[in-house]
Subunit: 583 residues, 2 copies
């Protein structure tokens, strides 16, 4: 399967890959407590065994805590149990009647409980296959005010009753991204633990820049980043990382880190103080690399486009060097956006090692597979990267946003970005200020993205993520096997998909059997957009489409929603056939 | 007061400012419906009158909608009313028992209601002055596991009971940033409407990049940005803007926009293709300008540092030009981080006009004052800026994160950042694709930051924000008047504060009357950190401190929390005296 997937690869990839996949037995051995060095290294995500002594200490501490917790829980439930919804007339209540208003407590509780009712109704419907994925309206329709849903802002306040109506309407005219038949993006699903985590995060309403005001969240971030680095397989204990507002920014960090490592003077003197630097990336890499290249002052011409249609070889590097360019950075993609293809990291790493280039692995989409003993071999060699982008908000089903940039070496992020703002990062605080991580970021204030992820990990365990991910990959295999030999469908790339991306054309009856021609291509190009428009208008399902290179518009199915089942895959295929039969 | 505040200004500012403040009467006139051109232009935030015809149409539509709403509300409340908490044993329930699990509905509802109980308890305590602001622990203490609060992640799942305990503990060891006595940052408070908005946002769990999956939020963003541009006073209707992950990124956008406007070739060819560009900023500007200068390839030496101790004059510009540098961009700060000072925008704008420089106004902190007819004169001239950073999550009390970058000219953001990713921004969609705003961003996925803000605006109206902001400024005036002449305190800058920043030293008894000397300065430098440490350990209040230039550590009080009252100001002062009396 590995070799047959080559056709789906980006252009600069080598053919020879996955030479040493680990047998499944090896993994099982590790899972059952094997502490062989190789096991530990590869399976960083399996918690190391504690010594017996440690264990008994932990158990007694646990028991103690459980009993004290139970007491506490009783106390709390007594206190907390009193939040009961009562009939409240919100038509004469306004924001100003809520806390901090005097005697605003009861109204506040009733208002928030009413909001929660709206949200719980929405959550239930999200998982209900008899509801629509969306109720589509054009921008001008929504702007004109659907059934009085007025989006305009005004000088004077609206009543809380109206605010509740606004909340219902906002959800009504939105898209249910957690619906089992929503396949439109790499981020789908609505994880209930993650949702609870986000509700808590917004209630805590704090900022990640200092330990001072986010002590628990800062520690959770450190612990989670360390765990992720272990799973990547970096053997050193003191790597680095940070959660950023999405994979594009994470990728931007990787380029900044590479530049700072090799040319720290850019920080003070700018890009004009150094030779022309080149970033290497595969043609199918995510567009954010190019975006970052433009923003950071490299210029897009010094990023991807020079590599199109060429192979990434030593000769190519030398060619650039001779022209006065300095090759700086290579990004391999672990799970491309459209095809879900994995670049052969070991071969790329060999060249990077030899020529002292920074190796970044963009595993925004594929990183989740590291949690699966069955699939992580697709990212073999990732432990040789200098930096890794990994978005838990994609394959791991964490709520938006949750993206990590991870670095093998400590200190680079700090060196690259720190400006030592005296009003935030005072050096004479009473606590260990190495926990003030804000100066590593290109942001100042930073949203708390960690808690939902940490809570999900607690609630599912590593094994929970693993089975969730395996299930999604099984579903895509099911889809692939279902359509690969049917005359109604044509696959976009040869071989089995490596990730959950299944790319295909639907061939309407009018085009079946027609030989390849410009006319057929033009007609086929219009099929996917038409079906997609009909899908959205009927609201039954959503799936993405796009052209790629010379390939006309095709559907890209992706499965990252644990709520999806075989019946949903069946539904999608039938729906495409139904909507497309007359095209 | 304007002239007396000069001492608090950054170094490159002119002395002559606020020559033409608008009389308060003018504002009142406008408020009462005056549609004189100047009124409209300056008070863009007041909704324009609709014609009578429009009005009657609106009223009847409103009535119709109210009656249909009531019906709908009944339907909904019937459905929604059934979410009642019941006794549930969570000790044998796990994440896998929640939706999408078969029959997971009831457990899901009960679990989320239990979480809401925890959150409502927290909300109530947040506003309760008899509770602490925080329960401080050192990193190593939390890492060791406070009362069994185990931050480590494991392979196996925890029960939902344990997850609920984890939620309680997370809040317990955190910081109540909405507490009326939390003054530590520019973002404080816990707005209940905003909180409801965030809960809904996370439940909707979608992404801002396309209209396709965030139709309502995309329109809300457009409408809110337009409203903000009107309030700034830009007369053209088609400016631009985007919500970004914080003020630092908004400031970064402004530099990128300026560079693209004057040197679009940087996008493709990089910074080495253009002459050395210089960014001008005041010494007290936010450190994010420098951070962005480093990231974008300008180099920090070409940002701020060359301007320290110099005046921003035409001579200076010429001096740079003669050395082969090209002055590109000037940022004026409207509300500096520490002093809350406002740069004289009109004078800076004159020079920018004359020499064709991009003028950015960083009003991340001061932007909120635009909502106040009493205080917006402090930002006079802002309508001459090319771009403005304005963070509603600061002075307007919106929950984190909510920051806008606003541009006078349309198309620059798009031109600067677009990469036309085919898988997201298909050109053959069925709807008007100008509503797909994602390619304007440096991000790909983008968090929904708009809804809470839009909902707050709906619930408070423009006038609600105005009174909230006026109240905060009145409180800071109260604080200033209370301590300015007391021997226990010394003010850091002369004159009345322009924003809510009140900067002062507490002089402990041992230092009172001691003449200025190196010894006294050293001792005084240690006072604020010591008091702050004691504050945090007792958990009674929090306020920031820092040194600035040659000034030793001083307290910076800021008030942005609508829950704060005079009694809290009194408390803060007494607490500082109590904690500092023996120093």
């Amino acid at each position: 399967t590995a070799a047959s997937a080559v056709a789906s690869r980006s252009n600069f990839l080598f053919v020879c890959l996955f030479l040493f996949p680990l047998a499944y037995d090896t993994w099982c051995g590790v899972a059952h407590g094997c502490t062989k060095k190789i096991g530990l290294k590869i399976c960083g995500f399996l918690q190391r065994n504690n010594s017996l002594e440690d264990k008994s200490r932990l158990v007694s501490a646990f028991k103690e805590r459980q009993s004290s917790r139970n007491l506490l829980a009783c106390e709390n439930s007594e206190k907390e149990g009193r939040f009961q919804k009562t009939e409240t007339d919100f038509s004469n209540l306004y924001a100003r009647d809520l806390l901090p208003a005097k005697n605003g407590e009861e109204q506040t509780v009733q208002f928030l409980l009413e909001v929660v009712d709206i949200l719980l109704t929405y959550v239930k419907k999200t998982f209900d296959r008899s509801t629509k994925v969306l109720d589509f309206h054009h921008p001008h329709q929504l702007l004109e005010g659907m059934e009085g849903f007025n989006l305009e802002l005004s000088d004077n306040p609206e009543s809380l009753e109206q605010i509740l109506v606004d909340c219902r309407d906002t959800l009504k005219y939105g898209v249910r991204t957690g619906h089992p038949r929503f396949f439109n993006q790499l981020s789908t699903g609505l994880d209930i633990i993650g949702l609870a985590g986000e509700w808590l995060t917004s209630t805590a309403n704090t900022n990640m820049f200092t330990y001072e005001i986010a002590p628990v969240f800062v520690l959770m971030e450190q612990i989670t980043l360390r765990k992720m680095r272990e799973i990547i397989g970096w053997s050193n204990k003191d790597g680095d990382g940070i959660f950023s507002p999405g994979g594009a920014i994470s990728n931007m960090y990787s380029i900044m880190a590479a530049r700072y490592k090799y040319f720290p003077e850019v920080k003070t003197k700018g890009m004009s103080a150094v030779p022309k630097l080149v970033l290497f990336t595969s043609e199918h890499s995510h567009y954010s690399i190019k975006k970052a290249g433009a923003a950071l002052g490299f210029g897009t011409e010094n990023c991807e486009s020079q590599l199109k249609k060429m192979n990434f070889t030593i000769e190519l590097l030398l060619c650039f060097s001779l022209q006065g360019y300095i090759p700086l950075y290579v990004t391999a993609t672990a799970g491309t956006t459209v095809y879900g293809a994995f670049d052969p990291i070991p071969e790329i790493a060999d060249i990077c090692d030899k020529y002292n280039l920074w190796l970044h692995v963009d595993a925004a989409w594929g990183g989740g597979l590291l949690m699966s003993r069955r699939h992580r071999h697709k990212l073999n060699g990732i432990e040789r990267a200098n930096s890794v982008t990994w978005n838990p908000h994609k394959m791991m089903g964490v709520l938006l946003q949750c993206s990590a940039i991870l670095l093998r070496e400590k200190g680079i992020l700090q060196g690259c970005n720190q400006m030592c703002a005296g009003y935030l990062f005072q050096q004479d605080k009473q606590y260990d200020i190495t926990y003030d991580t804000g100066d590593k970021a290109i942001q100042c204030g930073r949203h708390v993205d960690i808690f939902k992820f940490w809570l999900m990990w607690k609630a599912k365990g590593t094994v929970g993520f693993e089975s969730q991910i395996n299930k999604c990959l099984e579903l895509s295999e099911y889809l692939y096997n279902k359509i690969k030999n049917r005359q109604e469908f044509e696959m976009v790339f040869e071989g089995e998909p490596e990730h959950t991306n299944v790319c295909f054309w639907y061939i309407p009856p009018s085009l079946r059997g027609m030989p390849d021609s410009e006319e057929r291509r033009e007609k086929l190009h219009r099929v996917a957009p038409k079906i997609k428009a009909l899908m959205m208008e009927t609201g039954t399902t959503m799936v993405g489409y796009q052209p790629q290179g010379e390939k006309v518009n095709f559907f890209r199915m992706v499965i990252s929603n644990p709520a999806a089942s075989k019946s949903d895959i069946d539904f999608l295929i039938e729906e495409i056939e139904r909507l497309g039969q007359d095209l």
